[in-house]
């Protein structure tokens, strides 16, 4: 018991932090990609509308 406390035999159990880390990394990347996609689609619609207005004038 004392030996296992004083001398670490196995790596620390930090697996849950690893999953949290990768979850945040890929989650943040996914949100950014989605945000760019969503902005681009909205702008395309705006542009189409403005071009239509310009043509009418």
């Amino acid at each position: 018991m004392l030996q296992s406390i004083l001398l670490q035999q196995t790596p620390a159990d930090t697996t849950s932090f690893m999953w949290l880390g990768f979850g945040v990394i890929f989650g943040a990347l996914a949100i950014h990609v989605w945000s760019m996609y969503s902005r681009a689609s909205r702008m395309k619609k705006d542009l189409a509308l403005l071009e239509e207005l310009e043509a009418k004038e």
Binding site: P11, F17, M18, G21, V24, M36, L50
Partner: protein, 232 residues
């Protein structure tokens, strides 16, 4: 907006594949670190995201110089793209570092020079985006943005060098660091493969994100011009 160029389509798919392989190499292929355990695997992406962020800020400073020399608004669009992508990747770098620190340093946050300088860098660029919002006139906004990007870039090398010039507990894995660093480790050859692959992945992925963000910027510019034309 023109459809995506073939090179960008290739970059999109290449980024997806590279990210999947980088995740595999980090989570499965690289050996488990002997003391820290699995959380050390976050390190590969943590450093690569930091590198990608700095690449974005470097592009912004280059664009700032180009804008001030040439006065062409396209450089403002490129600079803004660099800062936005840089911010996202730096955010990932800071948050993943904090998650690593929780089991290794026993805290989510500490007032270490690296953490503080990285956060200041992030805040400097967040302020850039906020201040831009307050300027309507495109030329003035671009001039302000260029000068701000030049001055704000001071925070980037400061953050990079902080662990090499000040006493810190943040490990320096590549090169030599402070003897008081907590969480240092020597990379095995397999770990090096995962590390350099992640760096390569985030270089390609960073370029892909930048290209997409520049296209959005161009589209936004076109909309603004058209709005002005219709209104006046």
């Amino acid at each position: 907006m023109k459809s995506r160029p073939i090179t960008l389509k290739i970059l999109d798919w290449l980024s997806v594949i590279l990210l999947a392989v980088a995740a595999y190499l980090s989570i499965v292929w690289a050996p488990q670190e002997a003391v820290m355990g699995d959380v050390q695997r976050v390190f590969y992406i943590h450093v690569a995201a930091g590198w990608g962020g700095m690449m974005g800020f470097l592009l912004a400073v280059f664009s700032a110089i180009m804008y001030l020399v040439k006065g062409d608004l396209k450089w403002d669009i490129v600079g803004l793209a660099g800062i936005e992508v840089g911010l996202v990747l730096s955010f990932i770098n800071i948050v993943s570092g904090s998650i690593w620190a929780r089991p290794i340093w026993n805290t989510w946050w500490t007032w270490d020079p690296r953490l503080v300088t990285a956060t200041i860098m992030e805040l400097v660029y967040i302020a850039y985006l906020m201040l831009r919002q307050g300027i309507d006139e495109p030329e003035r906004r671009a001039r302000f943005g260029a000068i701000y990007a030049l001055v704000g870039f001071v925070s980037v090398p400061l953050s990079f060098l902080s662990i090499r010039i000040w006493r810190t507990i943040h490990p320096v894995v590549v090169g030599s660091g402070d003897a008081g660093a907590q969480g240092s480790f020597d990379m095995s050859p397999d770990m090096r493969v995962a590390f350099f692959f992640a760096l390569f992945t985030f270089t390609v992925f960073g370029v892909t994100l930048l290209w997409h963000r520049i296209r959005i910027g161009r589209l936004q510019d076109k909309i603004e011009r058209l709005k002005m034309k219709i209104t006046y």
